[in-house]
Amino acid sequence: MNDPPLLSITGLHKRFGGLVVTRDVNLDIPRGETHGLIGPNGAGKTTLLSQLQGDLAPNAGTIRLAGRDIVGLSPDKRARMGIARSFQIAALLPEFTVLQNVGIAVQARLGHSFRFWRLATRDPALTGPAREALAEVGLESEAATPAAFLSHGAKRQLEIAIALAMKPALLLLDEPMAGLGKQEAVAMTRLIARLKGAYTILLVEHDMEAVFSLCDRISVLVAGALVATGSPSEIRDDARVRAAYLGH
């Protein structure tokens, strides 16, 4: 038997009242793949990520991580099982420094935090891995800056550093390029290219150039339903995708 895919979604369904935002979604993502998820605004991409990460509960369907059904597990439990998520709208700890923002993710990975005495900011078991994660995204120079004072681009990098510090099995990235300038977007694309292969990535992104260059496979979500999954060239040539989404 082969190993089960790292992520396996079957029959996933989610409604907000009468609005169906996830419609019978089936998707397997093998370990190591960088998978793109594209679709028009309001297609349900963020909602799908939220169901994977645990902020939202689906109405029906299963989500398996390495074969284990995780629907019903709390978001913190899923995080400890290896699901990391960066948010579309940066969700940081504004009063904490960049290093402290990452440190809390390291802390979570190292076991419980019922430790009451030792100063966390001077604990090399936390600051070491936190600095490594900052180095990976190129944010070391900002380690002592409070997160509230970062530029928009640096906040996006910090989101990624926090996710990396969790040493995740699955990285869920929700529009990491959103609002970035041209140069910042190029740097972010390079960063994700470096992560590719080392992590299994589900990348939601509107920057088509980035998605088509980075991803091994791409899925297209329209009104909650997956209308196509395939290699970048297959998706580019898919008539339904062109009609429904790319529109050119």
Binding site: Q53, D55, S74, P75, D76, K77, A79, R80, A84, R85, F87, A91, L92, L93, P94, E95, F96, T97, Q100, G103, I104, A105, Q107, A108, R109, S113, F114, R115, F116, W117, R118, L119, A120, T121, D123, L126, A144, P146, A148, F149, I162, A165, M166
Partner: protein
């Protein structure tokens, strides 16, 4: 909308110095009071130290955890009642409760204070587990309701004096020391306060403290990296409740008297005001806030029976207009590291 807060970068050595300075200043009070022949000031100082302990305990949840609790007076009163009721039963010679739960009374604070702490921890954990299911205004309202529940519980205890309160009938004893001897008891309370403050200073900088402070800023973020925030907030609430009950127990020792008035919801509000006055972002700020509060109350009540009016105006001025607090003022005045 999302105006960045100017974050306070922690400076552990500076905070340690401030704590030492506050304890040293309090320690000067008895000799000074005796020198100027105003020994009643020791009694005022006693209150200051005990409320400084209670406010510091509250601030673990209020300032560092962002949980606005209006039930801490109930924990304070609970601790006081544990000490008073245990002593009451020792003097009466009957036991408390029945069967396997029977407990003989005691007037030894070395026994009753730890029991007050345990009761504070247990009750705050239990009620906190329910209250922490809510946030924001709902949390404030539910803690207020719990406070009143405990308040009326003790009002209804006719055996223990009901709403008139309970005079502790015998002499208490703390490892050979009679708390009625004000000066030595003052120093015992001060030592306990100092140890608590140093402990709290460590806690807020520890991994536990990082989780607590992180959850205050953005609980969802903390959960998303894998931390079950709820149990840390609950643990902080229980630690805070236990320390507040300890302060209440010490107060029962100092006053030889407990009353439900100590646990009215307005007293809970006063503890919050002490924290706000002193500043919510340091461990030592609330102690200064408690001192400022009690000294103002004491000073203004000498001039007018309507002292609450000028007092309220001062509090509003501090909270709303200047957006300054004693800690910030002190920092600017010389502790700029």
């Amino acid at each position: 909308m999302d105006e960045p807060v100017r974050p306070r970068t922690a400076c552990p050595s500076r905070d340690g110095l401030v704590i030492a300075a506050i304890v040293a200043a309090f320690a000067c009070l008895p000799p000074v009071a005796n020198a100027i022949d105003q020994p009643f000031l020791i009694r005022v100082g006693q209150r200051v130290v005990i409320f400084a302990l209670a406010a510091s305990a509250l601030n673990l949840t209020l300032g560092f955890g962002g949980m606005i609790s209006l039930m801490h007076a109930a924990f304070f009163g609970l601790g006081a009642y544990v000490v008073a009721i245990l002593s009451f039963h020792e003097v009466n010679g009957d036991s408390l409760g029945t069967g396997p739960l029977a407990l003989v009374g005691t007037s030894h604070l070395a026994l009753s204070l730890p029991l007050a702490v345990a009761a504070g921890a247990a009750v705050s954990a239990l009620l906190g587990a329910a209250a922490l299911r809510t946030t924001g205004v709902y949390f404030i309202m539910i803690t207020l309701a719990f406070n009143q529940m405990l308040f009326y519980y003790f009002v209804a205890q006719q055996t223990y004096g009901g709403e008139d309160g309970l005079q502790i009938p015998g002499a208490l004893d703390l490892a050979g020391l009679d708390p009625a001897r004000r000066t030595p008891y003052f120093y015992v309370c001060l030592a306990i306060f100092a140890v608590a403050l140093v402990g709290l200073q460590r806690v807020v900088g520890s991994r536990f403290g990082m989780v607590l402070r992180g959850a205050k800023q953005n609980e969802r973020r903390v959960i998303t990296v894998g931390v079950p925030a709820f149990r840390y907030k609950l643990a902080a609430f229980a630690i805070s409740g236990a320390l507040t009950a300890l302060a209440g127990g010490l107060m029962a020792g100092a006053e030889q008297f407990v009353s439900p008035a100590e646990m009215s919801w307005s007293r809970s509000g006063e503890l919050v005001v002490m924290c706000v006055l002193g500043g919510l972002d340091t461990v030592w700020g609330p102690a200064l806030g408690a001192a400022a509060f009690l000294i103002l109350e004491f000073g203004l009540s000498n001039y007018t029976t309507h002292w609450q009016l000028p007092f309220g105006l001062i509090v509003i001025a501090v909270a709303a207009f200047s957006r300054e607090d004693v800690a910030a003022w002190a920092r600017r005045a010389g502790w700029r590291a």
